[in-house]
């Protein structure tokens, strides 16, 4: 009888440990992704156009563009929001050669949106996203991209 009680207690403790471990791990992972928001001093359109030019000057290109505002206009919602996927094939080749799983974080996504008449740029810090993936080159690329994107978006906060 006593043995059964001890067994139940051990089982309960193990379950508590497992549950807290899972939540703990999720929390740690979630904390690794860093969201950066920059308030732009320019209008929405000027910010989008400026980013496109800035991307070219920074040796990258806009690989894809999602017109969230136009897509959502089909649901009757009127907003200003655009997502730009930026990168560069050479850097992409290096990153994908090091770890083909990086497609989840590459190309880098930059989001421009307007809220109460103010334009914002937000993105997940590249190194914090690429940090999930193994590979020395991937990590280095993440750090380089941090600087590039920070410089690019920083132009609009001045």
């Amino acid at each position: 009888m006593k043995n059964l009680k001890i067994q139940k207690m051990v089982l309960a403790l193990m379950m508590v440990f497992m549950v807290t471990s899972v939540f703990g791990a999720t929390k740690t992972r979630a904390q690794q992704t860093k969201l950066i928001t920059v308030k732009s001093t320019k209008s929405f359109n000027a910010t989008v156009e400026g980013i496109k030019k800035g991307v070219a000057n920074a040796g990258m290109m806009v690989l894809a563009e999602i017109d969230q505002d136009k897509i959502l206009s089909m649901t009757g919602l009127t907003i200003n929001a655009k997502s730009l996927f930026i990168g560069n094939p050479t850097v992409g080749k290096t990153a994908f050669s090091d770890n083909p799983a990086v497609g989840l974080a590459i190309p880098i996504r930059i989001n421009v949106y307007e809220k109460h008449g103010v334009t914002y740029i937000n993105y997940f810090e590249p190194s914090s996203q690429l940090g999930f993936f193994k590979g020395e080159k991937v990590k280095m690329i993440g750090q380089k991209m941090d600087k590039k994107v920070a410089m690019l978006t920083g132009m609009f906060s001045k």
């Binding site: 563009e65 999602i66 017109d67 505002d69 136009k70 897509i71 206009s73 089909m74 649901t75 009757g76």
Partner: protein, 222 residues
């Protein structure tokens, strides 16, 4: 012999007309992209329907020509009636999205860029063609129709739409039960399709005067 040829042409037209409305459903079921289906299926089907009409004119099967052309005209006009309800519903927030615009961006494969004038034109053309296709089917089957037949027909199309993969892909569940309070979408769709069906049958009652339904045409060929 003549009746067999007429029947064959009628069945070919029925089959061809049934293709177009199902393309959007097929694409939303994830089987093929609408842009691919538009080029490889929709356009050839429209050409084939025109050829069958041409053959019917050549063979002097006036009845088939009349039924098909009247079906197209009545179908397009009935779609205007449907559109008045649908557009009003969309603006009042009882529809989750602007379906012709969605069809347009899918047809031109430009979802990420959103709609533009060309995708809107493509979407509206496809939407109205679907109305015409349903008109062809109804006209060939019902001949000089009765209004209740049109109402039933419209209701069946509406129900078919609300249980199709389209509503699932819109994220609102069958009959739109997961959208808003659960009744707005279904109400708008039913009223819109009742408007379509009643307008269609009202027009074909006049356009197809003297032409019986398909069953009677088979039974009494002359």
């Amino acid at each position: 012999m003549n009746i067999q040829k007429k029947l064959l042409l009628t069945f070919i037209l029925l089959l061809l007309a049934a293709v177009s409305p199902n393309l959007f459903v097929i694409s939303q079921a994830g089987i093929a992209q609408l842009s691919f289906l538009a080029v490889n299926v929709l356009i050839p089907v429209i050409i084939l329907i025109s050829i069958v009409i041409g053959i019917s004119i050549f063979l002097k099967y006036k009845e088939i020509v009349r039924l098909t052309v009247n079906g197209i005209i009545a179908g397009i006009i009935a779609t205007v009636a449907l559109e008045i309800i649908r557009e009003a519903g969309f603006r009042l927030g009882t529809m989750p999205g602007d379906l012709p615009r969605l069809m347009g961006v899918l047809m031109l494969n430009r979802f990420a860029s959103g709609p533009n004038i060309w995708s809107d034109l493509a979407g509206w053309a496809y939407h109205f063609w679907n109305g015409a296709a349903f008109g062809i089917i109804f006209s060939l089957l019902a001949g000089q129709s009765k209004v209740w037949q049109g109402i039933l027909y419209g209701l069946l199309i509406g129900i078919g739409f609300m249980i199709s993969p389209v509503v699932k892909s819109l994220g609102i569940g069958i009959f739109g039960f997961e959208f808003k309070n659960g009744y707005e979408f279904a109400t708008t769709v039913v009223i819109a399709h009742l408007a379509y069906g009643s307008t269609l049958s009202f027009l074909l009652m006049r356009f197809n005067k003297g032409i019986p339904n398909l069953w009677l045409r088979i039974k009494n060929p002359n």
